[in-house]
Chain length 572, copies 2
């Protein structure tokens, strides 16, 4: 192909991308910015002998088009034939399933080391965005890469954005590198002992081909820093890069979302509520790790919060330690983080925060079986991850009022760190009074006192618990309904009292069952005569599932649960 | 105090340190190297108004002496009055309980941000060693620190060592900085947008005072890079820095350990065994994250392994991703990591390794309630952490032969990643035949078929299970004894068969009980008529406990367990 033909191809691909994205939603800005670089990479390198590893891999749509999967971008019936990330089961050109950030350099180092151990040849190329560089794993990988002493190419796709704007000192160095056309003497990558090449025209196919040819078959690790335009070729996406990082289906002309929704959700509620609290307390500090938008921190809300809002960039480990330090110093930090991404900071939760017992508030966002359904973004595991950490109070509110009451309480509470599993979806008001003080830890709420069967319905699944009770009424059973509230503890008194007139306890949790809430209850009641039925998702990495089907597969349906209970009672 | 007096003080402290270390054991090299710098910090800064945060805090002995805790280094009766790490409950000069690496910059950033939110004054100083810089959290912290725009001082204590030698590209930059007296234009810290000062004489009190005075009350973040000598003033420690990083009680003249032990342990066995395998398979690659010594990788063993041994520095996240990549490329990686430090790589275990289902081997070292007893180094949590991750096979061998059989199998197994909880202590041969193939997953070993009571005795606690059975014989019970082998799965067939003639199932695990192995069993049997008694450590951050006392507090004693079983049977 000539350069001209490739440029025409790029235009065609861009049109297809915008068509699919407008109908289907997905990562917009990252893919539009990488069209030319991806074409040039495939032109110069011989995939899959040469191995391309894309960080986050949310920018791999063009790579998919070029490796036998164009149909999934051409024909709307085939849109869902491919995932939104690299996926080895789709193609030998994809080496890893990747969705979390900052992993590509290290994974690609592994491919290179594996190649070297076996005395094989071929280029290994990691492609990583500037926003991902702030993550600890990416920095560990950059630091170690120099030890390879063999072919290794790191393409740094610098579009001057994370999901929102970048934060961190290294971005000043990237700016200096761009301004000096890569010549400034101070250079983060060279300071990691890596060779370095700069290409200012990251959306110029000919220039990129020229640069990639220079590093092909290189015998040592090198960084190729390319300057690209996020959202390139679609004016709306170029103009508002944060909004167009990931977008739901939209109108191509106006950019308006196809399904706008005015109902209040828990994310927006959180930022609005915290902003109001900040007006009266300048020690409250909201913290995000590169994802302000997922909990309502729009650019305008951030501006209003001023220095009381901190974006650490993609750096959850730092965020937890920062929160611990702020709390130790007498401030009131509130770190909001997606359940799936909090997985990056288990040790910091345990060591930096909980051993030190500093009273920070952690808001766990989107923790649910139904919030994100890509295998790399599952929000199933936060309950097992957090509930075994000593000193941590982990709360599961069941409605809007209870959530705000818990949030207000946690901000002023000084005895322990508190995590709150923020409900998912649209807000619902309480249908019963809510407590304002949760200092008496591990006291469950007895919502309805019945007999024979007790349903412990945690957080998001409280409503499912209500429905199970309704189903049981039809079987002549007036079941007890309990709102546990505390994920991280057992109300031993209430549970022990149940034994008097209950024979079955049902636990419901909106997450993975292994290591979760229900198992603690099953253990506690293990030596009693009460039988336990625990509901949650069985151990699996589910991918791109329909939430309703997934819930049914796991028997997380009121009628199925009621059937199981009746079956259990009949076997008595 | 005059400089002369401080120098005399330094000498006196060094003598006290060597006296205590020789009798008590502890971190030797790190403390000897930091005597002068710690004196100078306390001379220049006004602790605790000015706040010192020590990374790992294993080098804080001199700080403790200078802040009211000298008695714990002077008088052998008081040696155990203080912990080996900073500890806020001991002194207002200690701001955090710290024991894991790479956290100080981020924690100190929090103190600085908390100070700024409240409009307060004072210096915040993080002290971090060069070895800790390779950790993701440290690099995240360095990157973000520039955003503070207020007083913040990072002292980089560069002794040119991690626990073993350093690995990673950044160490070339540190060397260049030392060689150029801090003047070379390429500078990792400046590339993170931090100000920078170099002091070559890191063991010269007057020079250090001079440097610290220059940065005191600075209005922006600055790195003070000091060049120190690890083990300074004790020739044996200066000469063999790796051996003297942490040392058990020793003879001051010869350096010989007071209690040498020639019995074979599982750590040395592992390196010896892997070296033997490597001779016949050049695709096997052992990986460590800065801790080669804890699993037998002496300098000589490393030399023999050559490029088949990789030290990534303190960088567990990178290590897991690297292992995943090597396995994907057809190599056979074996990453050995201390249970406590594996906590830093949960997300990489889940995303980089297990979603990708690449067949790496992870050796979890020291996983036990009895291996490390400092609160920051507990090895209690690996079972809850790992056993809920889909695709991972987590094995618990019960003796030497079973361990080696599992290790050999895992290296050749290609279906899933495998983690092995390496037994602790001295090796014990098998007292029964062991399987060589574990491909039929989740098949428990029925060691003895009895009735009424079944004991599931996992890994290190298999011997405890045997003892419990012996105790039960005295009560007239011929209990069933099971070696579960698979931590990560349930042998549903065997468990369901138990219900025919068993009424109590006992689970024993050498770790935290919450989210662990026993709870899975309790859940599985929750709807059956079998009662379950789960044994492990209750949820707590225990600190500096005596293992025997700790086990007794948790009823992890054969006689207590047998009593509980009999009590449970009587309540039937």
């Amino acid at each position: 192909m000539t350069t001209k033909q490739m440029e025409a191809l790029a235009q065609e691909m861009r049109t297809l991308l915008i068509d699919k994205l407008s109908a289907h939603g997905g990562h917009c800005g990252p893919n539009l910015g990488m069209v030319e670089a991806t074409i040039a990479l495939h032109y110069v390198f011989d995939s899959p002998t040469d191995k391309l590893v894309f960080d986050v891999s949310h920018q791999s749509y063009v790579h998919k088009m070029l490796t036998g999967r164009a149909q999934a971008f051409v024909s709307s019936q085939h849109y869902d034939d491919v995932s939104g990330y690299t996926e080895p089961s789709e193609s030998p050109h994809d080496h890893f399933t990747i969705g979390h950030t900052s992993t590509a350099v290290s994974l690609a180092c592994g491919l290179a080391k594996g190649r070297d151990l076996q005395g094989q040849d071929g280029n290994v190329i990691a492609v990583i965005g500037d926003g991902s560089l702030s993550g600890g794993e990416a920095l560990e990988g950059l630091d170690w890469a120099a030890e390879l002493n063999s072919n290794f190419i790191i393409v740094v796709n610098d579009n001057q954005m994370s999901i929102a704007e970048n934060h961190g000192g290294l971005y000043q160095n990237l700016a200096e590198l761009r301004q000096s056309n890569g010549t400034c003497s101070n250079n983060l990558f060279r300071a990691m002992a890596l060779d370095y090449v700069y290409q200012p025209e990251g959306n110029n196919i000919a220039a990129l081909i020229d640069t990639f040819k220079k590093v092909k078959d290189i015998d040592h690790p090198v960084v190729v820093h390319i300057n690209t335009l996020k959202g390139k070729g679609y004016q709306l996406a170029e103009d508002d890069k944060e909004r167009w990082h990931w977008i739901a289906p939209f109108d191509k002309i106006t950019g308006k979302l196809t399904h706008e929704c005015s109902s209040e959700n828990y994310n927006d509620l959180t930022a609005t509520h915290l902003l109001e609290l900040m007006k009266h307390d300048n020690t409250i500090c909201a913290i995000t790790a590169g994802t302000p938008g997922i909990w309502g921190w729009t650019p305008e809300n951030r501006r209003q919060a001023g220095s009381q809002f901190v974006d650490v960039g993609i750096a959850e480990e730092h965020a937890i330690a920062l929160a611990s330090g702020i709390a130790k110093a007498g401030g009131k930090p509130v770190f909001g983080v997606c359940s799936s991404f909090l997985q990056r900071a288990y040790d910091q939760m345990s060591q930096d925060l909980c051993i030190n017992n500093n009273p920070a508030t952690i808001l766990v966002l989107w923790g649910s079986l139904t919030s994100m359904t890509d295998v790399t973004h599952l929000c199933h595991f936060d309950i097992p991850l957090l509930s075994g950490i000593p000193n941590l109070v982990y709360l599961a509110p069941t409605n809007r009022d209870e959530y705000l009451a818990m949030l207000n309480w946690s901000i002023t509470y000084t005895q322990h760190p508190v995590a709150i599993r923020v409900p998912v979806g649209f807000t619902k008001p309480a249908n019963r009074p809510v407590d304002t003080d949760y200092s008496a830890l591990n006291h469950y709420e007895m919502v309805h006192k019945g007999s024979k069967v007790a349903v412990l319905a945690l957080g998001n699944f409280f409503e499912l618990g209500e429905k199970v009770c309704t189903q049981l009424v039809a079987h002549g059973i007036d079941a007890t309904l309990i709102n546990p509230r505390f994920i991280s503890g057992i109300d031993t008194e209430m549970l022990n009292n149940l034994s008097r007139n209950h024979s079955v306890v049902v636990t419901l949790e909106d997450g993975a069952i292994e290591g979760g809430f229900g198992e603690k209850i099953a253990r506690h009641l293990g030596a009693s005569s009460i039988k336990t039925l625990c509901y949650g998702a069985k151990k699996q990495f589910a991918d791109r599932y329909k939430p309703a089907d997934f819930l049914a597969e796991n028997r997380l349906v009121d009628t199925m649960i009621a059937d199981d209970v009746m079956h259990c009672l009949q076997n008595e």
